[in-house]
Amino acid sequence: MAYRHAFLIALLIAGLAQSCVVSAAEDGVAFFEKEVRPLLVRQCYECHSEESGKQKGGLLLDRRAGWERGGDAGSAVIPGEVEASLLIHSVRYLDEELQMPPKSRLTDAEVAVLERWVAMGAPDPRDGSIKDVRAGKSIDLKEARKGWAFRPLQNESPPEVEGVAWCRTPVDAFIKARLETEGGEPAADAEARTLVRRLHFDLNGLPPTRQEVQAFVAAARRDLDAAIQGEVDQLLARRAFGETWGRHWLDVVRYADSNGGDRNNTFYQAWRYRNYVIAAFNEDRSYYDLVREQVAGDLLPARDDASRRRQLIGATFLSLGPKMLTERDKEKLRLDVADEQIDTLGRAFLGLTLGCARCHDHKFDPIRQEDYYALAGIFRSTQVVMGTRNGCVNVASWVERALPQPEPEASALAAKLERLELIMRLKVEKDFMKKSGGKMTLDDLPLAGVLIDDEEAELVGAWRESSLSPNRLGARYLHDDRQGKGSKRAIFSASLPESGVYEVRLAYSSNAQRSKVVPVTVEAWREVKTVRLDQTRKPEIGGLFQSIGRFEFEKGGRVNVIVETTGTEGGYVIVDGVQFVAEKDLEREAKALAMMDGGDPVFRMSSGDLAKALTVEIRELRDAELAMAPRDAEDVGDCHLRVRGEVGQLGPLVRRNFLEVLHEGPPPEIPAGQSGRLQLAEWLAAPENALLDRVIVNRVWSHLFGRGLVASVDNFGALGTAPSHPELLDFLAQRFRAQGGSIKRLVRELALSRAYRVAAQADGPLVQADPENAWFGRREMRRLSAEEMRDAVLAMSGQLSDEVGKGTANESGDDLDKPFLFDQDRLRTVYLPVARNNMAPELELFDAANPDMVTGARTTTTVPTQALYLWNAAFLREQSAELARLAYATPDPMAWLYETVLGRAPTPAEAARAQAMLRALGGDEGALADLAHVLTISTEFLFLN
């Protein structure tokens, strides 16, 4: 049909050209004035004229120069070339992505007017220069590099202060200096029992036991500095440190155990990354190594198997994002995945919203659209999604990599993984192929590509059906019966899954009666070629298909293969089908053909059996030693800029590079066949990139002081917050770099500072002068996090397990859509499943990080459902009973409960009140459980000061 349409238009144009060729130029102008101009005014000026003040897509249609230069997508009209003119293309409404006018289609007569006008050579008397309303500000990188976030680390040393006596560490000098400048007095040190609680929650996410409180209070009475130092060192050495601080990082990297998006498939291997992070914090591995591993762990050279294992797992960072697995446009899916990676990488490591530059230059920060696509080239060259997860061609799966292990297990696993991917690929390809019934000899070919049987061809003239030759595609094939030579034609029109080069093949059965000169015409994107096929010769591929050549096709564009009979007198012309195989699949096809000779049954499986095999293979690999790590794609390379971020609107090719505002040199040399991720990782972690250090030390600071030196911890751009103490920020960043990226040393340094010890203040001059607490002269109370709350309750009741959790989500099966409740679990919360779109209420209600997004600072919301949960949840009532059971065994259960839950003894008034309630409720263990419940949900327990 498409062929016919094009053919008719060609005729039409030919006719027009003939009638117009003699016309004088004035007739063209007259036609323009009479027919075209009113049409443009009526239908187009609203969005494309100076008068309306709109120049959508960069296009003006109220002057000749407007359509000559065109808009973002290029010239709108090429005089004389109807088919090549975007204006015509868009008003024909054949391309879903470019339809003009956008709201309503023109009438056929109106379209014809425009076609005729273009065919005439687009006479247009209107002049006027192009007024480019888009020429706005351009980004000045040089200037931008002077900003506090982008400049090199400044050499800072602690300032002189008057109150030297107050200071304990260099950090304190910076804090005190600011307070002195502002005329503020720091709050007094918090009480010892407050401090010990603060330290335990901040460093380990758990409350101190009664004994720990007592010991610390006693030690503090002797020497507070020494007591704190001892406590800090102890807490840093506990596994709970990594479980708490690892969780902070998991917030930043949007960690989850399921995909979310449109299909909430379980990420069976994600937990390895979670445990990798926890271990990294506990082992105090260099932050720079962590950055390298997370961005390119799969590409880094490894010292040994243990490192290789760790590195591969680290790279899970890139694969963890939510994906629209059912996206049918695979190029869009690929760019969307790259976008998610770029956005996450930008915010997590650099505090920059790089994602904003996908459609246009960043509106506020020095990030150009070219910068974005320079990175997009790197991530588009990284493969995360592939194949099919459930057998449906529209549901993509993701890459998993075998972890190193001893032989022969290693080879066996590698083979299993390879087979899984093969099954996925075969399944996808089989489903793209058309089956038309009958015996499909095609089952002998490993790759289907896109197949069109003769039943789907448009036939001109009388063709005869036959099934004489068993070597055929489908139930039958056609021949021309050696009659009516030159009058018959078979047209195969295809729609291909993606743009690219394809090998075009024709199916026929050969014998000596066939014609030796069958004309076969391929109408590709930009070329039309006719070859003469000798059908007496046996087809080379599987004895059924013969290659016609390789052609470039555009997705959604012209794809026609036409078999004719002209000049074939004497021989039969056979038409059995057409196959399109993407060029990139040809090598694989050759390999697969070799494997078929080896006898693997998957090649002969039906589509349904492949789906079954897929389910089995995925299940068998669920607990295998795999990492959810990406790999470099087969087709690495630079990426085209996308105009307005539209996948189909190609702009110039952008050379892969790092972010230019942070990188002054030339773009990196990326070896052929590589994505550039390795180079990106090295650059990110290199000293040149000071922003990396600023962002991480600020994150650590924010977790200990309740607010960052840069309050917007994930945004160091213009719309973020300027640092309250820029010198301190750079001082800490420099130290961090000098100390090789040790998080523990940084935490220790901050926790030992005097500034960390200050008490919370309800009111007073400091609160008045600095309500946001940007000077850090006092403590801001905070509510316990979701994890702290649950872990504390279990720890107090003696129920908390000290096991390291593993694949806790895996028991839920292929998706995490079933409701979760952590009632029966006893592991620390960090080990429990994080289900996207379906967070357990224990997490979601109390503001655990939304795993769809980078979350450097959680928000604190207060909603009544929290209160309903605290009051009604079976979990809290059960744990209160457990806690009461422990209390009941002590000499003074009531006081023991206060000390355990609140870290202090009750006042006499409180004791009397509590006893009164206990008596009223029966004075038994049940009454004690009620008291434990009340204490556990009291604001004093829930808020840390």
Binding site: D262, D431, A711, A760, T862, V863
Partner: protein, 471 residues
């Protein structure tokens, strides 16, 4: 941790970070914070009411999950009937599977269609009860959306994007207008789908969590007793009373000691929770409704009982002051095959409940200021899939509106003569969103929230109010 600093510092509706006032607002708004009415200082300067007079005070969104077919319901096509079984005379949508379209053939509707009422709007025999209300409906026959797959299109419908994480429409409405009843949520989603984005479709994303939808039921099923999460009746009220007294005393003392605003917020929110726990059951219970009303919705009859109870609950919530109520069917409309029996079943299940809802709203005077919206995430192709099925069709499909501020008895826009592509007065999902907000008195361009360095809105950079359907 801090409350979201970037967000609260920049957004004009948002109370400043943890001011005492802000804490109280956040608490009161837990089930529908009043971003607009909440008179925190910034809000007062920005907006002291809706942007313009509202035509609707609330929305009831009837979501047909899976995608009902337009040519079989409200957009009949004579030429499609005439050319049943023939090849599609133009290129099929680009992003469909080649396997589904390379032999695409037209499939006429198996159902007859006729005109109803004074307006003469078309409706097929699948909706005999809704057909009686055609003069009340404003049928948009030129809908377009983004996303060929359910996951994307469902998210597009609910959140205005097919691939990013963004707040849902109900959350935006809650954020913009707050609740009319401080003891109830502003946004309730009745039996929302667990998949295809699941909670994302009633989530708040980066908006304050208070604005996310509160759910009742799941996956198109209401369940026996409709109840909010964690809301339970006390087994021993006297005992609970004693506990509560102690809790209140402790909290009060803690507040006096610390003077920390969030502590007070938490106390307020606990009190609100206990009030809700007392009041919600009456709103949620359908047992007290008279028999004739229950019958109107088809409650008690096997086919219509489930959706009938959902619709009746929607009316009760609307009456009680909930702003945005979504009523979802199960994921049942996806008739790639079995179109005939599938669509017949689906329509039978919702026809009477929907008609009952329209009647009931009207007789109570609620239809005046309640906007009812009906539709799925996309429509279905006029071309056949297999012998008795249709594929997804976001290129052109039908949704209808009724009530608050829309022109009744109107058919707006057109698809081509086969019902495939929208070609006249196209209404993109973004436009529908802009229009719904407009009817609620909100300018979609001005309802923004700053997150990660950018002002976001429901309609992203798109959306135009569809003036042609406004009453």
């Amino acid at each position: 941790m801090t409350s979201s600093l970037t967000a609260s510092a920049c957004h004009r509706f948002d109370p400043p970070a943890w001011s005492r006032r802000g804490a109280l607002k956040a608490a009161a708004g837990g089930f529908g914070a009043m971003a607009m009415a909440g008179a925190a200082s910034q809000a007062a300067q920005g907006l002291s009411g809706p942007h313009h007079p509202a035509r609707a005070r609330r929305v009831i969104f009837l979501f047909m999950h899976g995608g009902p077919s337009q040519v079989d319901t409200f957009d009949p096509k004579p030429r499609l009937q005439a050319q049943d079984g023939q090849r599609l005379p133009f290129a099929p949508a680009k992003n469909l599977d080649p396997s589904a379209t390379s032999r695409a053939r037209l499939m006429g509707s198996p159902w007859s269609t006729r005109q109803y009422g004074e307006s003469g709007l078309w409706c097929s025999e699948l909706f005999p009860e809704v057909a009686r209300h055609m003069d009340d409906l404003c049928v948009i026959r030129s809908m377009q959306s983004k996303g060929q797959s359910h996951g994307q299109a469902v998210c597009m419908l609910h959140t205005g994007t097919d691939n990013f994480v963004r707040p849902s429409m109900g959350a935006w409405v809650s954020y913009g207008l707050g609740s009319e009843n401080a003891d109830l949520p502003a946004f309730v989603s009745i039996s929302p789908p667990p998949g295809h984005g699941g909670p994302r479709n009633y989530g708040s994303a980066f908006l304050p969590a208070a604005h996310q939808g509160t759910t009742v039921g799941r996956g198109g099923k209401l369940g026996e007793q409709a109840a909010f999460r964690f809301m339970e009746q006390s087994a021993d009220p006297a005992r609970d009373q004693k506990k509560l007294e102690l809790l209140r005393a402790m909290n009060q003392e803690n507040w006096e000691r610390t003077q920390h605003a969030p502590v007070e917020g938490m106390i307020e929110s606990m009190e609100l929770a206990f009030r809700m726990q007392r009041q919600a059951p009456a709103v949620m219970s359908l047992d007290d409704e008279p028999a004739h009303i229950r019958a109107l919705y088809g409650i008690g009859e096997k086919t219509t009982d489930n959706y009938g109870r959902q619709c009746l609950l929607a009316r009760k919530l609307a009456e009680a002051g909930v702003r945005y109520i979504q009523v979802s069917t199960g994921y049942t409309w996806d008739q790639h095959s079995n179109l005939k029996s599938g669509h017949e079943d689906n329509c039978a299940k919702v026809d009477r409940p929907i008609a009952g809802l329209l009647t009931d709203l009207k007789q109570r005077g609620l239809l005046e200021d309640t906007l009812v919206v009906w539709g799925g995430e996309f429509g279905r192709t006029p071309i056949a899939q297999g012998s008795n099925g249709r594929d997804h069709n976001p290129q052109g499909f039908t949704m209808w509106l009724a009530g608050g501020g829309v022109r009744p008895g109107l058919a707006f826009g057109e698809t081509d003569e086969f019902g495939y592509y929208a070609v006249r007065d196209k209404v993109h999902m973004h436009d529908l969103h802009a229009t719904i907000l407009h009817l609620l008195g909100i300018d979609h361009l001005r309802l923004t929230y700053r997150y990660a360095g950018r002002d976001f809105r429901l309609t992203d950079v798109y959306g135009e109010v569809v003036r042609g359907i406004l009453a």
